[in-house]
């Protein structure tokens, strides 16, 4: 398929950047195609690993940024084993994911999460804002009985939540537009798929891939990792749903009993914790390929997810245990973690939650796979 567009080489030393991000296999790959062929995910839809590495080698920045392949990959490591040049294609995919995250982000702001110094600074700044926010808006801390509401009233929370939500939506929109523009130019150039296909693919991917990760299931012996990942996903959804229900029932006075959002929150929390701890153990074991080398941006996501999860539990425990002071402190910590999570979401590893389904969507719409 000859795309009529001319790809002028503007950024020849793209390889060095990606090598810095962990893709030093780029200096080895001689394009044999074994990685694409061994990839278990290629069975359903070609994961063009080799083509992407070649685009990197050639410095075709726009092509690389528009390539959905990194998002189809689950970093299972089969390709690293069979590569005759030991070029670790898996790690190159990971490097490209990071590179895409950076370049989709506004003003490439995401690169701060790949540099220890910047990351620390951003953490401090967010903590200050968070604490300041809490300090300004917090009510008085009733010590004898646990009254979360008085400590930080739910209205304020809801307002802050709304602000953050708006922030998330706006920033993600910009990032997605970037992503669409690059992907359209790379693989969708001159192609137009019927609307029906867009819609049908959207729902198929939403259910099959986003929510139930069917592709991760395809390989036996990896079910543990599958359940962990499902746990984390549904954890976030349920927690988000919990706050959502809480917010809606308050603002519209639906009078949903308190326990419903709490229960949903707890289940979500359990899922999140299960997944988080599973990945934590893998990260320390360093056995599975994806866990062999953990960089800052991996720890960042794990820490925040676990942090908010554990702090959330502690809050509920202390709340039930009526230990007000502990509850408030941990509630503060919990809010802080959630705040970090949300603020850094569009720029950190967490954003793969959005990018992956969209990449799948664009790929399956534009790259029609003739069987």
């Amino acid at each position: 398929m000859l795309s009529p567009k001319y790809v002028v080489l503007k950024k020849p030393d793209l390889s060095n950047e990606l090598i810095k991000l962990g893709g030093d296999g780029i200096k080895k790959c001689y394009q044999c195609g074994t990685c694409t062929a061994i990839c278990p995910l290629s069975k359903t839809q070609t994961v063009a690993v080799r083509r992407m590495i070649k685009k990197v080698q050639l410095g075709l920045e726009e092509e690389v940024l528009g390539d959905p392949a990194p998002w189809l990959c689950y970093f299972c490591g089969d390709c690293n084993e069979t590569c005759p040049k030991d070029a670790t294609p898996g790690n190159i995919m990971d490097a490209v994911r990071k590179y895409q995250i950076i370049n989709y982000s506004i003003g490439k702001f995401a690169k701060i999460f790949y540099d220890k110094a910047y990351a620390l600074v951003s953490l401090v700044v967010m903590t200050i804002i968070g604490l300041l926010g809490m300090y300004i808006f917090h009510g008085e801390m009733v010590t004898n009985v646990v009254d979360i509401d008085s400590f930080i009233s739910s209205e304020i929370l809801h307002d802050a939540g709304l602000v953050l939500l708006a922030y998330i939506v706006v920033v993600m929109l910009v990032h997605l537009v970037n992503m669409y523009r690059y992907t359209k130019r790379a693989i969708g150039y001159g192609k137009s798929a019927p609307l029906g296909r867009w819609i049908s693919e959207f729902f198929r991917i939403l259910i099959k891939e986003a929510l139930f990760q069917s592709r991760l299931l395809c390989e036996e012996g990896r079910s543990a990792r599958y359940f962990a990942h499902i746990g984390v996903i549904w954890g976030f959804i349920l927690l988000f749903a919990a706050t959502g229900i809480h917010f809606i029932s308050d603002s519209f006075g639906l009078g949903v009993p308190e326990t419903v959002p709490r229960l949903v929150g707890i289940i979500g929390g359990i899922g999140l914790l299960y997944g988080g701890i599973y990945y934590l153990i893998r990260r320390f074991e360093k056995k599975e390929l994806y866990a062999k080398a953990s960089h800052l941006h991996d720890w960042w996501l794990l820490a925040l997810a676990l942090g908010s999860g554990i702090s959330g539990f502690l809050v509920t425990i202390f709340m039930y245990a009526n230990m007000a002071m502990a509850t408030y402190i941990f509630y503060g910590i919990h809010l802080l973690f959630v705040f970090y999570l949300i603020v850094s979401a569009p720029f950190s590893k967490l954003v793969h939650m959005i990018y992956r389904p969209f990449a799948l969507w664009f790929a399956s719409v534009w790259e029609v796979e003739e069987v």
């Binding site: 790809v7 050639l58 075709l60």
Partner: protein, 662 residues
Amino acid sequence: MSSEEVKVEGACPTDEVRIGVYVCHCGLNIAGVINVKEVVEYAQKLPNVVSAKEYIFMCSAPGQDLIREDIKKCKLNRVVIAACGPEMHEPTFRAVLEEAGLNPYVLEMVSIREGSSWVHYEDPEAATEKAKDMVRMAVARARNLEPLEKMSGEVKQRALIVGGGIAGLASALDLAERGFEVHIVEKKPVLGGHAARMGQLNVEGRKVSGKDLVDYLVKKVKDNPNVHIYTNAEVTKVDGSIGNFTITVKLKPRYVNDKCTSCGKCVEVCPVTAPNEYEYGIGERKAIFLPFEGAYPNQYVIDPETCTFCGKCVEVCPEGAINLDEKEKEITLEVGGIILATGHDPYEPPVGEYGYGLSPKVITLHQLKRLLSEDGPTKGELVIDGKRPRNIVFISCVGSLGTTPNANQYCSRMCCSASLLEALHIKEKYPDAQVFFVHKDVRTYGKDENLYWKAIDNLVKFVRFEESPKVTVGKGEVKVEVEESTIQERLVIPADLVVLVTGMEPPKEIEELRSLFKVGCGGDGFLKEAHLKLNPVESLTGGIYLAGTATGPKSIAESIVAGSAAAAKAASLLSKDTIEVEPIVAVVDEDKCSGCGICVSICPYGAISLEKKEDGTRVSKVDPMLCQGCGTCGAACPSAAIQQNSYKDKQIIPQILAVFER
């Protein structure tokens, strides 16, 4: 062998002719198409055939034993072998006959493989019928074959090496060290050929340049008393045959003698310039010039084509070393064997092919090598148009694989490795340079694979194409447009420098070489070896061996090995003092010869002379050593008095008749 007549006495016992016919399967080559059994049965019924057999490999030991026993058992006096062509195994089977006590020249080979099974495999019946006819014709000819006595000629213990490039030097050195006298004739004013200009040859370890190799070999060859070097010299005439060639060599004038101290004054005054062929067209040189630093012989020379003989240099030369009316001299050499190390020419793209000749930014691989070598025009600095190029694009297979209308079809073997080597040198010297390698296949075979790996490691960008790239030369910038076949994208690469990776072609004077030395050329235009695998360094003409890139593209190391191999063949020849010559020479029947002189006048080798008999009449006489066995005199002799052994009228006419005795 003195020049008396080749008398064929004791002709084969004229009693009954007993022929043995042997049909070979050659694995499936013949038996896969031709019904060998049918051919054998047919042969059995032919008159005078006493034994007809078949075997899977006649050329193998069991096959040969089959013949040997038959000759003894059935007292055969003629043998017909239907198998592959004579050039493959005639010597083999002649040896079999000789061992069985039969004269080796009563053998007739008929090539039912190349002549029938391999070319009529779609029509097995017709192939079998044709095979039968061919066997019948062969039997008809064999019936009249006569035993011939081997003739031997004297071998002159000297070898001629044509070409003073790396392969010629390697051959000369080996033969000289083996103790034979060697004469090198080099067309150019200096030794070393293209190898001397090839700059650094490796990437890691001790740095080796083409010039180092040439200097090493030249120093050894120069000091060896057995070697005589003639530069600026050309072979103009070759007579005689294996073991006894008479070579006429024209020593072109250098116009500068050895009083020259290379002070260079003459160059300043010389008004005429020409493109410098030692720098592959980069920069110019004067009519009087020193080919390159450290060349041997390290003497200035005047190029007669460009020099206008104005005489300015003569006036200004402090040593009076220039003599403009030096005449060319001619010498003759008597040698036993000849090694053709005549080398190759780099492919010169026509103006406009990939933008060549339209912009200084488009150069060939050879020009790049000159730019990058320390003794090059820019002392190793890669400067194009005064600037250091950042984006360098190599385009491979220029002039090969039919990538452009003007290109050859064959692969020039070593340009992938050579160009990746230069890419690595560029990366080493200018780390920030972006190097693209636009290629079809990367053919870095054998140990050269590490060049390819090192290039990838140094982030050379490999762009694979199926359709040839297009180079557009704008006003000041050059763009290479190509469709990368493994990512299916059409790329436009802005290039500060485009290097056309050019392959090798036969030298311009290949036509003269062919007719001078009577050697053939293959489909690719290079000299054709007798057999690609049986004898890769021998030509079809006896006593002439082929070294280096004369037979086809090779790397410098392979050329040196081929040089030694050719030397080995020459040494086998020169280590004997007589050599057996094919006895298929012309013989005169004095009872028929009327002395009309027709044959004398048409023999190209002057091998026939008229001898005055006592009774005053004249009769022709053939000198077997000069006669090359072409048979032209036999066709012209009006009284059928002169006949070529084993190609006599009585041996060919029956073959013609046999075609129709179905």
